[in-house]
């Protein structure tokens, strides 16, 4: 088969909400097309990382080339692009989508359309995709395919009459999905003779191969040995390996227009490759780069410190390794009076933050203290200058500040209507402004403008608990707005704990201050002396709790000569103390830092 036989190629992605069965469907498609033998199948073939498998999310884009012999007798090359599904990775999603011509929209036939589905399907439509709706889990008793079809038409405005009813779990109707891909999705177009133009879809670091780059060829032909230039960074390389995932890595001599595959080119770091960049021939550059390229922009920041100061170098090394594979994660060294040496880290969003933290502790076995997450505030100073502030510890003197602006987001929340009241209250409490409220059957879709700094604190956790997990949530940053923001400090035994200071809206300060003091009261163990825990704005105390001094703590009876037993208890106490941080005379357990920031009310 020749590469420029466009008619036989289909590039598609799968748009779905978490848990609606995207990865399982991908597994079935691979299986049906014989990409892997039965014994090689693991669940969620395309999700390589433990975290991806466990949480059912895709963090890195993956691709797989399938060969499908259709009922019309022709054999097709189907390139499945598995994209990250979360808003934190919206830019990566948009690039992956730009590398395809069509999408499968997978909707759970009992759950229906979710906020995330909506955001992603709109992105797919924006990318000019043809869309084939697929109703998954139709084998479940709770499935209501007809109602869900109506919902798809109503909410998304997509004709769902030909939606393919399947069960990815049991393998029901998988062939019909493949037929729909072949019949309904367009084949790619391109010019084989034109100068090389390929999109860098994603990249990752492989311990054996170095950086592996996922590419979609638009025009021209990508061959082994070709000198290439990354148009965004200007970096030049020689292609030394080229191929496709089937889903195992399979080498090919070349990739033509419309094809999707990988290259390696002795690239040292992932940060040398930018998602969305245009790859061209060094000797014959294409006239213009692909549109839509932009560098990753961190949105949420927090400090990460090793619990054990001796692990600082390990943490530095671990961050370096993660950064190798994730250029969107940034870090720089930071020192905290209380927490010692650590790093100020930037993330694409909250999920990204959680993932990085989890990978650091899981893959590198590091015990970390994370400080309060912060957004980037734009400060106008009285001397006319402007600064970006992403660490409350760096806040200039209030007298020098003219104005503080904070990022706002537009959030879309979909929920069964019985939880709507609680969700509206949550959004109002978080300074939200309602933009829109619609009903789709029994599901409400509400749009709110919210300050991002209200969302970085456990908004998602609260939303889930209010809606018993049924609400879905998506957002994008819209603008910066000036706000009445103040720096709130937490004082333990009259000593400020910098790791717990934060910028809050004045109207919310007292409530949050009180909540944090109450939390800390329970989290800090009793000491030999009484400990006041206070929240303050400037010199003004806005909330206070007191941890009572220990009154009785002495072993009544020593067991004859068995001192070992007592010594082991003492060793345990010492171990516990090691996991605490000393603030003046007070020892604060590391869990307190994380737990204090979660709010229950």
């Amino acid at each position: 088969m020749t590469a420029h036989n466009f008619d036989n190629i289909r590039n598609f992605s799968i748009v779905a909400h978490i848990d609606h069965g995207k990865s399982t469907l991908a597994d079935r498609l691979i299986q049906f097309c014989g990409g892997l033998a039965e014994r090689e199948m693991v669940e969620q073939v395309l999700d390589n990382m433990d975290i991806e498998r466990e949480r059912g999310i895709t963090i890195k884009a993956q691709t797989v080339r399938l060969q499908y012999k259709a009922k019309n007798g022709n054999t097709y090359i189907l390139n499945l692009m598995d994209t990250p599904g979360h808003v934190d990775f919206a830019y990566e999603v948009s690039r992956s989508l730009a590398a395809c011509e069509g999408s499968l929209l997978v909707v759970d036939a009992s759950q229906g359309v979710e906020a995330q589905t909506l955001a992603n399907v709109y992105q797919a439509l924006d990318a000019g995709h043809e869309i084939v709706p697929v109703l998954n889990k139709v084998d479940l008793p709770a499935a209501e395919p007809d109602r869900i079809k109506e919902q798809i038409e109503e909410v998304i405005g997509l004709d769902a009459s030909d939606a393919v009813p399947i069960s990815a779990k049991t393998g029901l109707n998988i062939e019909a999905v493949l037929e729909a891909i072949v019949e309904k999705l367009p084949s790619p177009k391109g010019d084989e003779k034109a100068p090389l133009k390929a999109m860098l879809v994603d990249s990752w670091y492989d311990a054996y191969l170095g950086v592996v780059v996922l590419v979609r060829v638009i025009d021209g032909v990508l061959k082994k040995g070709t000198p290439i230039t990354m148009m965004g960074t200007g970096a030049q390389y020689h292609v030394d390996r080229i191929g496709v995932f089937s889903p195992k890595m399979t080498d090919l001599p070349q990739l033509g227009p419309g094809e999707v595959g990988f290259i390696t080119a002795q690239i040292k770091q992932v940060s040398d490759t930018r998602v969305g960049d245009t790859i061209t021939e060094t000797k014959r550059e294409c006239a213009e780069a692909l549109p839509g390229f932009k560098p990753a922009q961190p949105v949420v920041f927090c400090g990460l410190f090793p619990v054990d100061a001796a692990q600082f170098e390990d943490l530095r090394a671990a961050m370096g390794k993660l950064r190798l594979n994730d250029a969107s994660f940034s870090y720089e060294m930071e020192t905290s009076a209380a927490l010692g040496f650590g790093f100020r880290c930037g993330f694409l969003g909250l999920l990204h933050l959680e993932i990085i933290q989890e990978r650091l502790s899981r893959e590198f076995n590091l015990d970390l203290i994370a400080t309060a997450p912060s957004v980037i505030y734009k400060l106008k100073l009285t001397d006319g200058s402007e600064i970006d502030l992403h660490n409350p510890a760096d806040m200039p003197d209030v007298m020098k500040i003219e104005e503080i602006a904070e990022p706002w987001i537009r959030a879309t929340i979909m929920t069964p209507d019985e939880y709507l009241g609680g969700i509206l209250k949550l959004c109002q409490d978080r300074r939200g402004e309602q933009v829109d409220l619609n009903y789709v059957g029994k599901r409400a879709m509400v749009t709110y403008d919210l300050p991002l700094n209200e969302v970085v604190f456990d908004f998602y956790d609260r939303l889930k608990s209010i809606s018993k997990g049924y609400a879905s949530f998506d957002y994008h940053i819209t603008e910066y707005r000036p706000g009445d923001l103040v720096k709130m400090s937490l004082l333990v035994n009259a000593e400020p704990v910098d790791a717990l200071s934060m910028l809050v809206h004045r109207t919310r300060a007292e409530m949050r201050g009180r909540a944090m003091c109450e939390k800390l009261k329970d989290l800090i163990p009793q000491h030999l002396f009484q400990i006041p825990v206070q929240a303050a704005i400037g010199g003004k105390i806005i909330a206070r709790e007191t941890i009572r001094a220990l009154r009785k703590d002495v072993t009544a009876k020593c067991y004859g000569g068995d001192i070992s037993r007592k010594r082991k208890l003492l060793d345990k106490q010492k171990e516990g103390k090691k996991r605490m941080r000393q603030f003046g005379k007070v020892e604060i357990p590391q869990e307190a830092f994380i737990a204090a920031l979660k709010m229950d009310s």
Binding site: K552, V554, T555, G560, G561, S564, K566, R567, K574
Partner: protein, 388 residues
């Protein structure tokens, strides 16, 4: 050999564990066992003899300043059994002229009848497990005696032994500071020179723990524990029985020397099932422990010549921790120089400074450090602060 004795001498004692009881008390997590057949005391005597001989080889040439028969219930032993064990001790070490030999005994009429025999065997001090002066509470504690019987036993002990002590357990369910004050004052009337006053604690693996977990046993909260503790100090001080250790009260000079030896971090042999020892041997301090199960302990002694199952070499820092843990329980406090001798470094002055300033420890005229009146009730936290 200059290195054949510990860095400082705080005495040398022998602890003998008799692991059998007539019944198991619901609060007790000591190594005690109930047997429905008579115990083969002759076999145990032979085992004790061999175990003592073995341990004498580990710490030869010492002079025994105290012996303590604990349990279990050692007053279930025949006086002849006890005499044979004492003979074995005397055979391997020299015995100090003023040696203190204590027997723990239950205050029942059966046992009181053996008191004279124990004195003949060499016992010169008894410690009676009276536990409460309230019949309902004695039943709740699973004791087999009532108040009258216990007081009779105390009188018998007083007539036979120059030195005797008894134990009370307080912070019992529903106890109030008023009722405890009255009970303690009554007890002091019967106590000649020494009282051990232990707060009831819920220990893992006991019947009380199961009841407590099931919500069927309510124990006083921390505030009440503190109030009861304060009442104890107050009443005993007034009656001339100050606490010389957290839970032990004596007229000056009547302190239990064997227990002082533990708290002063002296050397001691532990013989018998589950017994622990600390011996300086081969220029190092070792922590020994023995097989806990009585018959298995016997078998081990019979086959390997001793009942020890573990000997842990203590590092200087561990010795220092043990020294602090034990010594700070004493009103006389600890000699910081001894800590330095054990660990090779002084107690962190920053830590002592802070605790001094906060008033939890004080420094005596002889430079000893001790827990202050304010520090004693929270001693575990104070030690944890000092030890790290």
């Amino acid at each position: 050999m200059a290195n054949d004795r510990p860095p400082f001498d705080a005495g040398f004692g022998v602890y003998v564990h008799w692991p059998f009881c007539a019944s198991k008390c619901p609060y007790c997590d000591f190594n005690s066992h109930v047997r429905h057949q008579p115990v083969d005391e002759a076999r145990f005597v032979r085992a004790f003899q061999r175990d003592i001989a073995h341990q004498a080889g580990l710490a030869p040439g010492r002079t025994v300043s105290s012996v303590f028969f604990g349990g279990g219930t050692p007053s279930l032993m025949q006086p002849a059994t006890l005499a044979a064990i004492l003979d074995a001790i005397a055979q391997h070490w020299s015995i100090a002229a003023e040696v203190e030999i204590t027997l723990e005994a239950n205050p029942t009429s059966v046992e009181a009848e053996r008191f004279r025999g124990y004195r003949t065997a060499g016992i010169n001090r008894v410690s009676l497990g009276v536990q409460a002066l309230d019949d309902d509470d004695l039943r709740a504690l699973g004791r087999m005696h009532d108040v009258d019987e216990a007081l009779w036993a105390v009188r018998v002990a007083a007539s036979i032994f120059k030195r005797y002590s008894f134990d009370l357990i307080y912070a019992r369910p529903k106890q109030t500071p008023q009722s405890w004050r009255a009970e303690l004052e009554e007890a002091i009337g019967y106590a000649a020179e020494h009282l051990s006053l232990y707060q009831l604690t819920i220990e893992p693996g006991t019947m009380f723990e199961r009841l407590h977990k099931a919500g069927k046993l309510t124990v006083p909260d921390t505030d009440m524990l503190r109030d009861l503790f304060d009442v104890t100090q107050d009443v005993c001080e007034k009656h001339g029985l100050p606490a010389y250790e957290i839970s032990n009260h004596a007229r000056p000079g009547a302190e239990c020397r064997h227990n002082l030896l533990y708290w002063r971090y002296g050397e001691y042999v532990g013989t018998g099932p589950g017994a622990h020892g600390r011996l300086w041997t081969g220029g190092q301090r070792l922590a020994f422990s023995s097989e806990k199960h009585p018959e298995t302990w016997c078998e081990r002694v019979e086959t390997q010549g001793h009942g020890l199952i573990e000997s842990e070499l203590l590092k200087g820092a561990e010795e220092g921790d043990e020294f602090l843990l034990m010594g700070l329980r004493l009103r006389e406090g600890i000699d910081p120089e001894r800590y330095r001798l054990l660990t090779g470094r002084p107690i962190d002055p920053a830590r002592t400074g802070r605790l001094l300033e906060q008033g939890f420890i004080e420094i005596l005229r002889n430079r000893n450090i001790r827990a202050s009146a304010q520090g004693v009730p929270v001693l575990d936290a104070v030690v944890a602060d000092l030890a790290i």
